[in-house]
Amino acid sequence: MGVITQLDLTPPQSLPPPLGQVVAEYWIEGGTAIAYPVTAGQYIQIVDVKGCQCSDLVVFTGDRHTEELDATVTRTLNGLSMPVAGLHGKYFSQQMQPLLEVIQDTCNRHDHFLLACTARYYEDLGYPGHPSCSDNFNQVLRPYGIAPRPGWSAINFFYNTAVDRQGAIAGTESWSRPGDYVLLQAQRDLLCASSSCADDLDPVNGWQPTPILIRIYEAQQNFPLAIGRRASATAPLRLTQPSAFTARIQQLTHNLVEYNGYWVPNSFTNRGVQAEYWALRSGAVLIDLSALRKFDVIGTDAFSLLQFSFSRDLNRLKVGQSAYGCLLAPHGGIIDDGIVFCLSATHYRYVGNCDSDGEWLERVAVQSGFNVEIQPCSDRLHNLAIQGPLSRQILRSLTQFDLHVAPSTIDDLPYFHFATATIATIPVLISRTGYTGELGYELFIHPQHGAALWDALMAAGAPVGLQPMGMLALDRARIEAGLLAAGREFDDLTSPYQAGIGWAVALKKPDFIGKAALEKIRAHPPTVTVGLVLDGNEVATGGQGVHPIAERWRAGTITSATFSPILNRSIAIAQIVPDYAELGTVLEVGWVDGIKRRVKATVGSLAAYDPTKSRVRA
């Protein structure tokens, strides 16, 4: 066991606390490597102690360690450049057998393409004899009878590489911060070797190799699958969470993915995207949208802050009303889209997509001297959408509105209005809003009532075929309805006039963030958002070019696309220059390299389905 270095140092104070009962710890000094055994079921935590330090890992199993982890097999079987916690989270051997599963990852940026660093790499840079991870592996693996190699194919954790459009692979400073870690579970008895990368010649390890800590946890532990993300430079690490409805959803599907910090269903077992989609269009569905972020804006200047930060004019927004719009950057870009709810003259709620929205509102409030408090309330408000033409019918018998609020029944709740009520005695805030292009409601509740609300709605909706709906069907529905998705139709470099929501900008307001920029952009937006109906049945993908007929050059880009079952047509949302945005204009979508093949597409309304919004207003 001479090759195994048991941790005999007093851990620095900066070490993150163990995740559970530790059965072994190994300390890898900067620029060195160790080998260590792990038995099936045990967990391996690889901790970047000081941050910005790569740690390469090679893994063996089987008699005489002849079976080993294979990066190419792993990429191929997962359909991903690297496994991520969840459905596609396993590392495979060349025999296509799982060796490791990613359980948690707080960095989310690793290399799976390049070798562990080699002597050749350093020689070519003019440093013959420089220590390398591959040579270090050769040394620690020799006692196990593993023949040396000039370069080891490895999982290079915390190594930040990317392949650009020309195919060049560039490595640069690691994303990892002090204490970032990867938690893996062994699927077989394994021999592992881990390094602290020896590269001190460039930024990949911050020019200075630092230690890596390996912790082994017993197989009996039960660590939840999670991906760690940080919303901003100062925000704490946030691990993927279940929503109030996840326990019920997991009884109906294993097809969950991480979305915006929550586990959400892609589709449901034995139902599938088509059935879920048609249930929405002809009946009713339940959608877990708890991943939305909620912030209460409270204080005498609550209105003033939002009037200054949000694109819509909130002057006419009465208590019980809500408005869709966006938070704006000074240059007119969309920081986020969302809905403002007016709960009282001094209490508003912003519901958007990003944890950082709260920080932004806070900063604007401080800079402008507004007397207001921003209270994040995402953890105490999870939301379930019930959408579809039968959604009102299902809610009708279950809903009891509070006596002091305006609507007496669900039939009296207008579009973009909300009220407090009980559903099957569960306190809820019912908002007549949605993201599907159908009549629908969003139900905000305390997470403790999640299972009860789910059960009550499913029971009440069963006679009319209420079904749960996943993200795949939701995406199809929202594209049909011409509804925007963050990262697809807009980002902070896209103005509302480009994103197709110019109507949500109240330029008549005396002053608001981005007003000056938007006044200029409005006159000459570089692109506008339109709907396209494609000839043929092929479905485009985001990023494909849109060209004038027979022209080499582009007039726009596809942002989202799907096949519309109800229209039986291939449709898309695209951002194109205004000269080609007139309804009925025929353009071409470039396929393959944009030149090899073109498919004609006709400019239509942004919403291909129900463009007059008659269904949501029904």
Partner: protein, 166 residues
């Protein structure tokens, strides 16, 4: 042990795929084809002859046909006219029907479905890619002429390894 699996005639499986695969199937059996997701199936009639249709992708379908092959071929050629699809019968694909007394729960004891599929919860008119030891198969639970059936599609060359016994 008695080998009791029933080998179905290979000629009754037809695969249809291509950009216009969904439209061809809609021509053949109507809009119901787009009410099912990949790895789901439906029972239908083509020209009054019962058949089972398994969707394998957005534009990929497999058809179990018990009627005259030449007749189906005529219908398929007509439906596929001016459409970008191929219609094939794979000589390397075999189909076996499990004994009627074998349940999907029993099959789940020896077969592992590829996640997120799950065999114990595989519903009627659904399919799942799975492995029995190292043998790859597609498990399809559906009805053949009103008789609930578990059908396995596997490579012909490995068919002899598949010994389902009661």
């Amino acid at each position: 042990m008695t080998d009791t699996h029933v080998s179905l005639p290979p000629a009754c499986l037809w695969d249809i795929a291509g950009v216009d695969g969904l439209q061809v199937m809609k021509r053949l059996v109507g809009d119901r084809c787009d009410r099912i997701a990949p790895f789901q199936s439906l029972e239908a009639e083509i020209d009054h002859i019962p058949c089972s249709i398994l969707r394998l992708g957005e534009a990929n379908f497999r058809l179990r046909w018990t009627g005259d092959a030449a007749h189906l071929q005529t219908l398929l050629v007509a439906a596929a006219s001016h459409q970008q699809v191929w219609v094939k019968q794979f000589p390397w694909l075999a189909s076996v029907r499990l004994p009627a007394e074998m349940s999907v729960e029993q099959l789940a004891k020896i077969a592992i479905a590829k996640p997120p599929f799950s065999l114990p919860s595989l519903a009627l008119n659904c399919a799942a890619p799975a492995r029995i030891n190292s043998l790859s198969c597609l498990v399809w639970r559906h009805s053949i002429q009103d008789t609930e059936t578990i059908e396995l599609h596997t490579a012909r060359q490995t068919l002899h390894h598949l010994k389902i016994t009661s």
